[in-house]
């Protein structure tokens, strides 16, 4: 029974009650993933499981045998930030910083979802192509609360990172 976190294989905890979130923070010592509400109501604990974003507080660690988890620590380090992380710094897409890892994990996954054509509540044409408008970003990021009120800057950061990702993709 193992799972992979940021490329590193780890064994699952014995107590089945331990949430993936608590396992990350205490079992694996990866405290970048935050606990804001423990009930799936704030998004601070957002991580990627096999590339898909979820609230790590509302799932048990033991349910992730064989899964591949990416946390904020797997996105970049203070000395080597990912484009999304760097854009958050540039646009001041945070204040206290507590919701930030969740916002960033969420944003990274969100761009993939848009690229895959998943519709959202604000997508006009369910059968058409999804454009990454400001309204689309705001709806899709609504699962990540920020009490400092950095939303306006977060959207700018995501827009810039999306543009960079696109450009980088075109280059490659």
């Amino acid at each position: 029974m193992t799972l992979t976190i940021n490329g590193e294989s780890r064994s699952l905890p014995e107590d089945p009650r331990i949430s993936l979130l608590d396992y990350l923070r205490q079992g694996a010592g990866l405290t970048g993933t935050k606990k804001g509400c423990d009930h799936g109501q704030c998004g601070a604990c957002t991580v990627l499981v096999n590339g898909v974003r979820i609230n790590s507080c509302l799932t048990l660690a033991v349910m992730h045998d064989g899964d591949d988890i990416t946390t904020i620590e797997g996105m970049g380090t203070p000395d080597d930030l990912s484009p999304m992380q760097a854009a958050f710094v540039k646009h001041d897409g945070y204040q206290c910083g507590y919701c930030t890892p969740g916002q960033i994990c969420s944003a990274v996954a969100m761009l993939d979802e848009v690229a895959a054509g998943w519709p959202s509540d604000v997508t006009d044409d369910l059968n058409g192509k999804v454009e990454l408008t400001g309204d689309e970003i705001r709806e899709r990021m609504s699962g990540n609360l920020c009490r400092c009120g950095a939303y306006s800057n977060i959207v700018e950061a995501i827009q810039e990172a999306a543009l960079e990702t696109k450009t980088a993709g075109a280059d490659a």
């Binding site: 608590d22 970048g32 606990k35 423990d38 009930h39 904020i72 001041d92 910083g97 930030t100 009120g149």
Partner: protein
């Protein structure tokens, strides 16, 4: 070696403008940013400490009465349980901001539903959480029907009053007047990081990692709670996941963790659940407010009345200072300001972002909108006609005030159509579209602050204070001030915050941190400069520091060389002085918003919002702007979504989580525009800066309310303006 400056007169030197570095004011990225975005910045609960046990608070399931016995044996056999901490030093309530003494400490005497009275400690969090729920106890609860929960159902006590002239007569004589009663509902700070602490006791000294805004006061509160000497306590709050008032005072988890650590001889971590944060820390009181505005035919205010009913628990000194800005913002020689407190048994009421103005300004500005309508006057013009020459009660002169500039520049930037206004002029499909505006105002506070600045032998600079950065940008602005004052690159400055072993700052709260702590660093830097000047044999004023070198008297030397191996360390102390009493000081601004209201469902959505603000010197254009947009986001919550609901039977907070207490989400908030007005306020602080952390929330909900009216014709007198309230007030088609 130290330097103290007492602010006895305005400081017009504007020294920061003369510094070569020009870092102050620049939109510098936060030095703490990379750690935050990488998840590498440790918050209180995240320190790795060997052998730490986990504590969970146990709370009372009734509103008032006594816990008569706690049956420890009911859980002692459970897996991992270490102890039940039931101790008379446990605190029942949080300390109020700057209380500087222990909060109410009778844990077994219950005064509100959800009050913590014990701590269960176990090896793991899951074990502790389960055992805390399983703990058995006996209690004697008062009959809920005899306990007051409704602020309007009890006789209130007068808390603060200003009466001048004859307001009734002014109202009767007025060419135009409004007399309106508003209700605002309770708010929760809802900082994203729940309250948390890890306490370690070595038999003599207590070290506590906690999420606190004001370590300088918190250490005294904790010492007083525990009957310990402050010298034996160290509090660390390097990163704080938001506070908004809820972490001003020491609260239950920190005291409980400390007592447990001392009793058990091992480190103990206590993190409140989100539900506990909602139920046991702080609420902003609901308010009932009566606004009376009397105006002459030209719209100049002749009479001004603002009365508020707020609530709190018995024995709490704090009363939401609703009329704070009403005291100075607008004229009217006949005045009546009143705050009354109802003693009820809802949880503790205390400071939530911008106590006073946050709820007092939004109602005042909604009332001003109605007055403008009666006068058939443009709402901006009404405000412009009511900028008083002197403080309407004390007669004090105003310090620098950019109200007029904010109103005019804000209106222009927003594209405000001036002139008299009529509702229901624009519809797009199902949506009525309207605009509204409001004035922003927030008093300026400063507090005593100390910081130590060390110029090291390697040319780097260390800034130390126990001041905190709760997202406000303290790491950034102190870096910028020290960099400019000492002529080094910001990258060479290390700011070390949130440690009570350092010189004591004022803490973060009341928007006073930047001006106070920034001034202490400025003063310390002046002392360092003086020492450098002495080494060069020149006057400090003739010293030029830049690029890591010092020039003066025809000499040029490297700062590293001048610092020597031992470095130059100076402590700067800033003290509020006469200037604070000689001027009426505040930050000012204006809000403009465009709102869409659904004609069927009454859903209101902010489509556009702009704030223009003057708050003295801008220390960092990026973090200051962020403070403004943060405040404006809170305006959207206060106007449309946020409301604490209290059970009428037992007073408990019903919507005690983030699913049902609706802080705004991304989709509620459009792109926000901010205009920062160039200003230096020499009376405010030696760095000419005022507060900005709260200004953005003071009045903006009124701009949204006014836009709702302009859009769909619904005048509402209750905040928040949820769909049910809007459809009830909306005229039929």
């Amino acid at each position: 070696m130290s330097k103290t400056l007492e602010m006895n007169e305005p400081d017009t030197r504007n020294r920061l403008d003369d510094m070569a570095g020009r870092n102050v004011g620049a939109p510098m990225d936060r030095p703490d940013g990379p750690a935050k975005v990488a998840g590498a910045a440790p918050y209180a609960a995240e320190y790795v400490i060997d052998n730490v046990a986990e504590g969970v608070l146990v709370t009372a399931p009734f509103a008032r009465g006594t816990i008569t016995s706690i049956d420890e044996r009911s859980i002692t056999g459970m897996d991992g349980v270490i102890a039940v901490i039931s101790d008379e030093r446990l605190t029942a309530r949080p300390a109020q901001g700057t209380a500087n003494e222990t909060p109410v400490q009778t844990p077994l005497s219950i005064a509100y539903f959800g009050q913590p009275f014990a701590l269960v400690v176990a090896e793991t969090f899951e074990q502790a959480r389960n055992a805390a729920k399983a703990l058995k106890f006996d209690y004697s609860a008062d009959d809920p029907s005899e306990i007051p929960f409704d602020p309007e159902a009890v006789e209130a006590e007068e808390n603060d009053a200003t009466r001048q002239g004859d307001l009734d007569k002014a109202m009767a004589d007025a060419a135009h007047s409004v007399d309106i009663t508003y209700y605002t509902e309770g708010h929760a700070s809802a900082a994203m990081e729940p309250h948390a602490a890890i306490a370690e006791w070595d038999g003599e000294r207590l070290t506590v990692h906690a999420s606190l805004q004001m370590p300088n006061y918190n250490i005294t509160e904790l010492a007083d709670s525990l009957n310990l000497e402050e010298d034996n306590i160290r509090i660390l709050s390097r990163y704080v996941g938001g506070g908004f008032g809820s972490k001003l005072g020491v609260s239950q988890e920190t005291v409980a963790a400390s007592i447990a650590a001392m009793k058990l001889g091992r480190p103990v971590r206590v993190v409140m659940s989100r539900q506990q944060v909602f139920q046991t820390v702080m609420r902003r009181s609901e308010t009932k407010q009566r606004l009376r505005l009397a105006a002459d035919k030209d719209g100049r205010l002749t009479g001004f009345g603002h009365e508020a009913l707020v609530s709190n628990l018995p024995e709490e000194d704090f009363a939401e200072p609703v009329t704070q800005a009403s005291a100075f913002l607008y004229p009217g020689k006949d005045r009546e300001l009143l705050i009354e407190v109802a003693r009820i048994h809802r949880m503790t009421a205390g400071s939530v972002r911008a106590p006073g103005e946050a709820v007092g300004m939004q109602t005042l500005e909604a009332a001003m909108d109605e007055l403008a309508e009666k006068l058939e006057l443009d709402p901006v013009e009404l405000r412009l006609r009511n900028i008083p020459d002197e403080h309407p009660a004390s007669g004090l002169p105003y310090s620098s005030r950019k109200m007029e500039e904010a109103l005019k520049q804000g209106a222009e930037a927003f594209g405000w159509h001036s002139g008299p206004r009529k509702p229901r002029q624009k519809r797009e499909g199902e949506w009525w579209i309207g605009t509204g505006m409001a004035t922003a105002a927030r008093i300026h506070n400063v507090g005593e602050a100390e910081a130590r600045v060390t110029l090291n032998g390697d040319g780097t600079v260390l800034v130390e204070t126990d001041m905190t950065d709760i997202g406000t940008g303290t790491y950034s602005i102190l870096t910028q001030i020290a960099a400019d004052m000492l002529g080094v690159e910001p990258a060479k400055v290390l700011v070390d915050l949130g440690d009570t072993n350092h010189p004591r700052g004022p803490g973060s709260g009341g928007s006073w941190g930047a001006a106070s702590s920034g001034s202490s660093v400025f003063i310390a830097c002046e002392a360092v400069r003086k020492a450098i000047a002495e080494k060069l044999g020149v006057e400090e004023a003739d010293l030029e520091l830049s690029g890591g070198t010092a020039k003066g008297g025809g000499q040029e030397k490297l700062l590293s060389e001048l610092a020597g191996n031992e470095g130059i360390a100076k402590t700067g102390t800033f003290k509020p002085g006469d200037a604070q009493d000689d001027y009426a000081m505040a930050s000012y601004g204006a809000f403009f918003s465009e709102v869409a209201v659904n004609r069927w469902t009454g859903e209101a959505r902010v489509r556009r919002m702009l704030g223009a603000f003057g708050f003295g010197r801008v220390l960092n254009a990026k973090t200051a702007r962020s403070q403004c947009i943060g405040g404006m986001t809170w305006c959207i919550g206060a106007a449309l979504t946020e409301s604490l609901l209290f059970d009428p039977v037992d007073g408990h907070v019903v919507n005690c989580d983030l699913a049902e207490y609706h802080v705004p989400v991304h989709r509620d908030v459009p792109h926000l525009d901010v205009l920062m007005i160039e200003e230096r306020d020499p009376a405010a602080s030696p760095i000419q800066a005022k507060g900005v952390g709260e200004l953005g929330i003071c009045g903006g909900a009124g701009a949204i309310a006014n836009a709702i009216y302009n859009a769909c014709g619904a005048r509402l007198y209750e905040f928040p303006m949820t769909p049910d309230r809007i459809i009830a007030a909306m005229p039929e088609d």
